[in-house]
C-alpha cells in the first residue's frame, strides 16, 4: 500500500502561532525595542544603546529588590514544600473524609490574588484585625504597616496560607499513585515509618515535588498583587519585590527604558530557572 504524504495538517498550528505571536512575541519585541531607547512620550524615541542595562545592573535598588525576591522565594519554598508533604501524608486515602479534605485544601487556591491581599490586610491590621489585635493583646509588638519584620512575616505567612495547598494536592496525587504492594512489602520487611517515607513515598513523589517547586518558584518569583495589596511594598521598601519595583519604575516614574531593560534581565533569570527545572525533570523521567 502506498502512503500519501500530506503536510496540510501544519496549517492547524497557525491559530496557536498567531495567538502566541500576539501575547508573547510582539510584546517581547516591543520590550526589547524600548530597552535600548529613551522616550518622553509623544511616540518619540531616542537611541540609548545598552545604557539602561548597565544602569540597572549596577543600581543598588535593583540588587536590593532582587535579593529580597530571592529571599522571599527561598523562604516560602522552604516552608511550603515540607509543610505540603506533611499535610499530604496526614490526609486520608480512603473514605468520606477524602472529599472534605480535598475541597478544604482547594479553597485557598480559588481565591483571587487581590482578595487574598485585602483579606490578610484587614486580618492583620494591628488595631482592628483579628490576627494583629490578638498578637498585640498577647504582648507581641506587631504592626505590619510600620515594622519590616512584621511586614515580612505577614507576607510570608499569607503566601504559605494561599499556596501550600498546591503542594499538598500535588504530593497527595503522588502518594495516591503508589500501589499498595509497596506498603505490603515494607510491612513484611518490618520497615519503620521513616523508612517507608524515605525509600518508598519520597522517591515516588520526586516528580510531583519537582513540579511543585518549579511552580512555586515561578509564581513567587513573579509575585505582585498579594504583597502590593497587603503592604504596598512597604514599610519603606522592605517588601518591594522585583515585580513591584518594576511597576514603580515603569508606571510610577514612567521610565520605560530602564523598566524594559529590567524586564529583560528578570525574563532571562526566569528563563534560566525554567530551563534548569525542565532539564532536571526530564532527567528524572528518564531514570
Amino acid at each position: 500500500m502506498r502512503k500519501t504524504t500530506n503536510q496540510k495538517a501544519w496549517w492547524l498550528v497557525v491559530p496557536v502561532l498567531l495567538l502566541v505571536a500576539f501575547n508573547a512575541f510582539i510584546p517581547l519585541m516591543t520590550v526589547v525595542n524600548y530597552s535600548v531607547q529613551e522616550t518622553f512620550g509623544n511616540n518619540a524615541f531616542f537611541w540609548e544603546g545598552v545604557t539602561w542595562f548597565e544602569k540597572v545592573l549596577r543600581s543598588e535598588r535593583f540588587h536590593d529588590s532582587l535579593l529580597r525576591q530571592l529571599l522571599f522565594t527561598g523562604m516560602i519554598i522552604s516552608i511550603e514544600v515540607p509543610l505540603g508533604i506533611a499535610v499530604a501524608l496526614s490526609m486520608p486515602r480512603k473514605g468520606p473524609w477524602v472529599s472534605v479534605c480535598l475541597v478544604l485544601m482547594a479553597l485557598p487556591l480559588l481565591i483571587p490574588w487581590n482578595v487574598v491581599g485585602a483579606m490578610w490586610n484587614i486580618f492583620a491590621l494591628p488595631d482592628i484585625g483579628l490576627l494583629g489585635y490578638t498578637l498585640n493583646s498577647m504582648g507581641f509588638d506587631y504592626n505590619f504597616t510600620q515594622q519590616p519584620v512584621s511586614a515580612w512575616m505577614t507576607t510570608v505567612v499569607m503566601d504559605v496560607w494561599h499556596w501550600t495547598s498546591l503542594v499538598v494536592l500535588l504530593c497527595y496525587a503522588g502518594l495516591c499513585s503508589i500501589p499498595d504492594a509497596y506498603y505490603q512489602a515494607a510491612h513484611i520487611d518490618g520497615a519503620s515509618r521513616w523508612a517507608v517515607f524515605r525509600y518508598i513515598q519520597l522517591p515516588k513523589m520526586k516528580r510531583v515535588l519537582t513540579i511543585a517547586i518549579l511552580l512555586r518558584f515561578m509564581d513567587s518569583f513573579m509575585i505582585y498583587t498579594e504583597p502590593f495589596v497587603l503592604t504596598g511594598g512597604g514599610p519603606g521598601n522592605t517588601t518591594t519585590f522585583l515585580s513591584i519595583d518594576l511597576v514603580k519604575i515603569a508606571l510610577g516614574q514612567f521610565d520605560l527604558g530602564p523598566a524594559a531593560a529590567m524586564s529583560l534581565i528578570y525574563f532571562l533569570i526566569v528563563l534560566l530557572v525554567c530551563w534548569v527545572f525542565y532539564t532536571v525533570m526530564m532527567r528524572n523521567e528518564e531514570q
Binding site: 519585541m29 525595542n33 548597565e54 532571562l268 534560566l272 530551563w275
Partner: protein
C-alpha cells in the same frame, strides 16, 4: 513598536539561527540527543537555546562588571557557542 535597526538585526539573527537549524538537519541529519560534558542529553535545538541563553548572561555579566563596549562579551559569546555545539 519603536523598531530600530540594531534590534531588528538581533531578531533577524535569532530567527536565522532557528531556521538554519532546520536547514542543517535537512541536509546533514544528526540532531538526535547526545550526552555532553554536563551530563545532560541535548539535541541541536537544545544546544542553540543554551547558547543563546548563555550569550544573554555573558553580555549582562560583561555590562555589570566591565561595561561598554561589548566586543569582549561578543568574543566570549562566540566562544561559548562553539563550546556548547562541540562539547555540551
Amino acid at each position: 513598536m519603536a523598531w530600530t535597526w540594531p534590534t531588528a538585526a538581533f531578531f533577524i539573527a535569532v530567527a536565522t539561527s532557528i531556521v538554519s537549524m532546520g536547514v542543517w538537519e535537512k541536509f546533514s541529519p544528526g540532531g538526535n540527543p547526545r550526552r555532553g560534558i554536563f551530563g545532560i542529553d541535548t539535541t541541536r535545538g537544545d544546544r542553540l537555546f543554551i547558547s543563546w541563553l548563555g550569550t544573554g548572561f555573558i553580555n549582562l555579566g560583561w555590562l555589570a562588571f566591565v561595561g561598554t563596549p561589548l566586543w569582549g562579551a561578543l568574543a566570549l559569546a562566540i566562544g561559548w557557542f562553539v563550546f556548547v555545539f562541540r562539547k555540551v
